[in-house]
């Protein structure tokens, strides 16, 4: 290890010089509006307006076409793009309505085939809802058919919970929206993943786009989507698809690239043609990564449930938002649990489906072959009969066996509410003291420090680090990202975002390193903590805000704590993984040289796990950035706040996109620096990946 430290010395020296320059600039550059060393002029300020004009032109003037309007019985002139997006919207909306009405009934599907006239003339033509018992039974049966009793219980109990707690209708609305968005995302992800696997050009074009797409905050997609697709369930679904597809593409490509050459050769020697190689060899062999992609898609869909409600998606997310705005913590918590349950059930079902085995030699008769269909038929009949009987038993007009309305379900809201009240009564002073202390002594000085940084000093620091890590190329790349942000009007806001992210990342990393290192000492603890991380990661980011607001009210502190909790997950995960990956013989060598546990941690575990931990830092930063932006919902004054404002503005598309890019570029600067460094370090330590 000794030589390594010497090798590092030149870089350390460079870094020292860089810091000196950085602080010199801070001292020497005086704040003034005209000094370009202090702040760059907002040259890009007209850009949002131009984007707005462009979008408007595209939607209303570009490529006019004649479209027949059956209502007017005449041809109408309209823009091509507008018709295309309208058609797409209609298709997506129809699918959502179809699934929704199978689950909870309605008339819109019938309307789609006939017209409102028909419904008015035929009042009986309403699609009835499935009794909730049938849906619960069906889900349990599906779980049983795919895996066994355990999954059946999970699916059955989860859905029963949703129904009994009176969240059936919004939950089914959310489900219908996920059941449309997720398959489309998965399909698109697979297609683009395969395409970029086949063609290097496609990969080269797609990768930077994916980088940006994955670091743009969810909110910035919303404005463009409303401009092109309008508002409603379909817009929510489309925003979700845009957000959920990139990780699927990436993981598909990653999985395909990992397929061993010999497996493909074995496929070829079996006489497979190109299609068979792709569908029977490549895709199934890459299944592990593709399934992680599917899992991510489902998680993104549910994480978007809340965010999509901003542009009119109905369901749990919308109610959750209302509850949060009304500070009804108990209700928000129950809704949050419903979202998590749907996420977990969908995730497990999709995994079980992918891992299902076939028995080729079972000699089945008709009943055995169709037994699941027959059982479902029985469940259906029993459910309908129960619902019918329920209509006679329950006299107050509500049939609990058919549908439990929102205000008639069990609720634990008052328990939570009284808990919150109790905590507010008893802990308020203490928490507020902590809160004020943190804000006055830590957060505000830190914010001031960030804001008092001249733009030239920021550039010097970031580009300097880029140069030390990856040479001129890296310096130019990160400099380019920074330049974009510096030339917008929002540099100060970006600094606030950066300060909140920096603070959260530092705290999250301290938590992550501590918990991660402790748990990594023992394989049982490692497995447990990784499982906990998995579980927490299935919670949509919004959920984290609920308990914090409960305790700290609507303040910067709440947002930061939520961010820290959310960002600690990757920090812990990567620390555990990094330390567990340290080759055992190195630890044994250390033990035989007589190291103490502390020495082993400092001298062996951490240095070797460091590159992997840094990738965790990268994830932590991205997680923190997202959460900081989401935190804007409950009131902060960074970029997120502006993105939210852009949402309510009809001309917001330009601002929304630009702000989104600013956030994405902050993320990409960190991402580029850390990835370059970690790749070099891993190569130097000799674990290539």
């Amino acid at each position: 290890m000794g030589t390594n430290i010497y090798e590092k010395h030149p870089k350390l020296a460079q870094f020292g010089i860089l810091l000196v320059g950085f602080f010199l600039l801070i001292i020497l550059v005086s704040p003034s509006d005209t000094n370009v060393l202090w702040r760059l002029p907002p040259l890009l300020a007209p850009l949002p307006g131009m984007i707005n004009d462009l979008a408007e032109n595209l939607m209303f003037n570009w490529f006019p076409v004649q479209v027949y309007d059956p209502d007017l019985d005449d041809y109408e002139q309209t823009a091509l793009l507008r018709e295309l997006t309208r058609g797409f919207s209609r298709g997506v909306l129809f699918l959502i309505e179809l699934i929704r009405e199978v689950l909870i009934g309605g008339v819109k599907t019938i309307v789609a085939f006939t017209g409102w006239e028909y419904i008015r003339e035929n009042p009986w033509a309403i699609w009835p809802a499935l009794p909730w018992t049938v849906v619960v039974g069906g889900a349990a049966l599906l779980g049983y058919a795919l895996r066994g009793v355990g999954l059946a219980l999970l699916a059955g109990i989860s859905l029963s919970y949703i129904s009994i707690f009176g969240q059936w209708e919004p939950a089914m609305e959310t489900l219908s929206f996920v059941l449309v968005a997720a398959p489309i995302s998965i399909l698109l992800g697979l297609l683009f993943g395969i395409w970029s696997f086949k063609s290097r050009t496609v990969e080269a074009v797609l990768m930077p786009l994916l980088n940006i797409a994955q670091t743009m905050p969810h909110f910035s997609y919303l404005v463009p989507v409303t401009v092109f697709f309008g508002v409603g369930d379909h817009a929510g679904a489309i925003a979700t698809i845009i957000f959920a597809t990139p990780p699927m593409i990436r993981l598909t490509l990653l999985g395909l690239k990992k397929v061993p050459v010999e497996v493909v050769e074995a496929g070829m020697m079996s006489g497979s043609n190109d299609r068979q190689i792709l569908l029977n060899v490549l895709v199934p062999t890459a299944r592990h990564d593709i399934l992680i992609g599917v899992n991510q898609v489902i998680m993104q869909c549910l994480a978007m449930a809340v965010i999509a409600s901003f542009i009119g998606a109905k369901g749990l997310g919308f109610n959750l938002l209302l509850a949060l705005n009304g500070l009804r913590i108990g209700q928000a918590l129950e809704l949050g649990i419903c979202i998590v349950l749907i996420a977990v059930v969908l995730d497990r079902l999709s995994l079980a489906w992918a891992n299902k085995q076939t028995d080729y030699f079972a000699d089945l008769n008709f009943v055995e072959k169709h037994r699941f269909g027959l059982i479902f038929l029985v469940i259906f009949v029993v459910g309908v009969v129960l619902a019918f009987l329920g209509g006679m038993i329950f006299k107050d007009g509500i049939n609990y066996f058919y549908f439990i309305p929102h205000n008639k379900g069990i609720t634990t809201e008052y328990i939570w509410q009284s808990g919150v009240d109790w905590m507010v009564d008893n802990w308020y002073a203490g928490l507020q003291g902590f809160n004020r202390g943190l804000i006055i002594n830590v957060l505000q000085p830190m914010k001031r420090a960030f804001l008092s940084m001249p733009v030239s000093a920021t550039f010097l620091l970031v580009m300097g680090v880029g140069y030390i890590i990856g040479g001129t190329r890296s310096a130019l790349i990160v400099g380019g990202f920074l330049l974009f942000i510096a030339l917008t009007e929002w540099w100060d806001r970006a600094l606030i975002t950066a300060y909140m992210t920096t603070f959260s990342v530092i705290v999250a990393m301290i938590i992550g390193l501590t918990i991660g290192s402790l748990c990594a000492q023992n394989s049982f603890a490692s497995k447990t903590i990784l499982l906990v991380c998995d579980t927490f990661q299935t919670f949509p980011s919004f959920i984290y805000l609920i308990p914090v607001i409960m305790l700290f009210g609507v303040t910067d502190t709440s947002v930061l704590i939520a961010v820290i909790i959310y960002a600690s997950i990757p920090a812990i995960r990567y620390t555990v993984e990094g330390i567990r990956k340290v080759p055992p013989h190195l630890r044994e060598a250390g033990l035989m040289s007589g190291v103490t546990p502390l020495q082993r941690w400092i001298k062996i575990d951490l240095p070797l796990a460091f590159p992997h931990i840094m990738l965790g830092v990268n994830q932590t930063v991205i997680f923190a950035l997202f959460m900081v932006i989401i935190g804007a919902m409950i009131g902060t004054d960074d970029l997120g706040q502006l993105i939210l404002k852009a949402l309510s503005d009809k001309q917001g598309i330009g601002n929304g996109l630009m702000l989104g890019l600013c956030v994405a570029f902050i993320g990409l600067v960190v991402d580029h620096l850390i990835n370059t460094w970690a790749a070099q370090r891993k190569a130097a330590l000799g674990f290539g990946e």
Partner: protein
């Protein structure tokens, strides 16, 4: 052993002449300019890597040809040229008299579906399929219906003694068991030509020995035409009818195991043969005295295909000459105990007296 006289009667099943495989951008052009004399160093300077350099081999029906070489010798590349997993840069390859390199995709797929089977070093099993499904894979690719292909696959499971494990996934099997699956899969379509690319190299030595025995047992039943690649000289000696030893893309020597051990053609080949205990490699046939018909023989007879070591003790306990017989019990030669002593304890002399 399909001896040289079979050569004249039969067309070889696999026939390669002057096969070159050169990796790199200007490979074709460089090769044309070099007139068949390829100097690896010169090519390297031009950014090309020579994989196979002027290789010619012929494999006859029912013969097992082992291509032996260390890593980077081009042995796997040559195998991949013959199975056309990589495109050959120059040369001719004929399979059953048909020009492999002139085949279009459809013909090639057809050939692979019906005539070829291949076993890989890393097993190359499909991780998402069970043992049974993996073995049935080539059959299903061919378009055979599910129930027939599963039935056939089940037969193969029994052939490689994996009965009871047909519903396991590859990850649940040991390396040896996984390679049994690989072997069963490659044999499922009853190919005529069987390619094995270092099939036992990833296995532990004990398992490797066991798999070699198993492999010999299978070949005894199946009589496939085999191209077997290995880096293990002992394995080559154990299995091969003939061995091709490769170095830097060039075939250094192509001959029977006995001839290679007794008469190494180059210094490189000699390095491998020096440490080989002959009695463990050579068959009686390669050291016996020819039969002049006048000898007074012992009652003991030994097979011409017996490995010397296995019969040495019996021969040493006989005072008279021991007759050597072929499979039809005709006497084809004889061995005296003095010869045995020579072979066992005086190696250099044994080498001189060998053919």
């Amino acid at each position: 052993m399909p001896s040289q006289n079979a050569t004249t009667q039969n067309e070889p099943v696999v026939k390669c002449s002057s096969v070159y495989k050169i990796f790199g951008k200007n490979a074709q052009k460089m090769l044309r300019e070099s007139n068949g004399k390829v100097d690896a160093n010169e090519f390297q300077k031009a950014g090309c890597v020579v994989g196979v350099n002027d290789a010619s081999i012929e494999v006859y029906k029912g013969e097992m040809l082992v291509i032996m070489g260390l890593s980077g010798s081009g042995k796997s590349t040559l195998l991949r040229c013959i199975s056309r997993l990589t495109e050959t840069t120059s040369g001719d390859i004929h399979i059953d008299g048909k020009d492999l390199l002139a085949m279009n995709r459809k013909q090639l797929i057809d050939l692979r579906r019906n005539k070829m089977g291949m076993v890989f070093q890393s097993f190359a099993l499909l991780p998402h399929k069970t043992v049974l499904e993996n073995i049935a894979f080539p059959l299903q690719i061919k378009g055979i219906n599910t129930s027939d292909s599963m039935k056939r696959a089940m037969d193969m499971v029994d052939l490689v003694s994996l009965g009871g494990r047909e519903n396991y996934f590859p990850r649940q099997l040991s390396g040896g068991q996984q390679q049994r699956v690989g072997i069963a899969r490659s044999l499922a379509v009853e190919p005529d030509i069987w390619f094995l690319d270092e099939p036992f190299s990833a296995l532990d030595p004990l398992i490797r020995k066991e798999m070699q025995d198993e492999f010999l047992r299978l070949q005894d039943v199946l009589h496939k035409t085999i191209l077997f690649v290995t880096h293990d000289f002992a394995e080559a000696l154990r299995l091969a009818d003939r061995i091709a030893i490769m170095k830097d893309g060039v075939i250094e020597q192509l001959d029977t195991p006995a001839n290679i051990v007794l008469n190494p053609a180059t210094d490189y080949v000699r390095k491998f043969t020096e440490e080989v205990p002959r009695e463990k490699v050579l068959k009686i046939k390669s050291v016996m005295d020819s039969n002049d018909g006048t000898e007074d023989f012992s009652d003991l007879t030994i097979s011409q295909d017996a490995i010397i070591e296995t019969v040495a003790e019996a021969i040493l306990s006989e005072t008279k000459r021991v007759p050597v017989v072929d499979t039809e019990h005709n006497i084809v030669g004889s061995v005296h105990s003095s010869k045995m002593i020579q072979i066992l304890f005086g190696k250099s002399k044994a080498a001189e007296t060998g053919n």
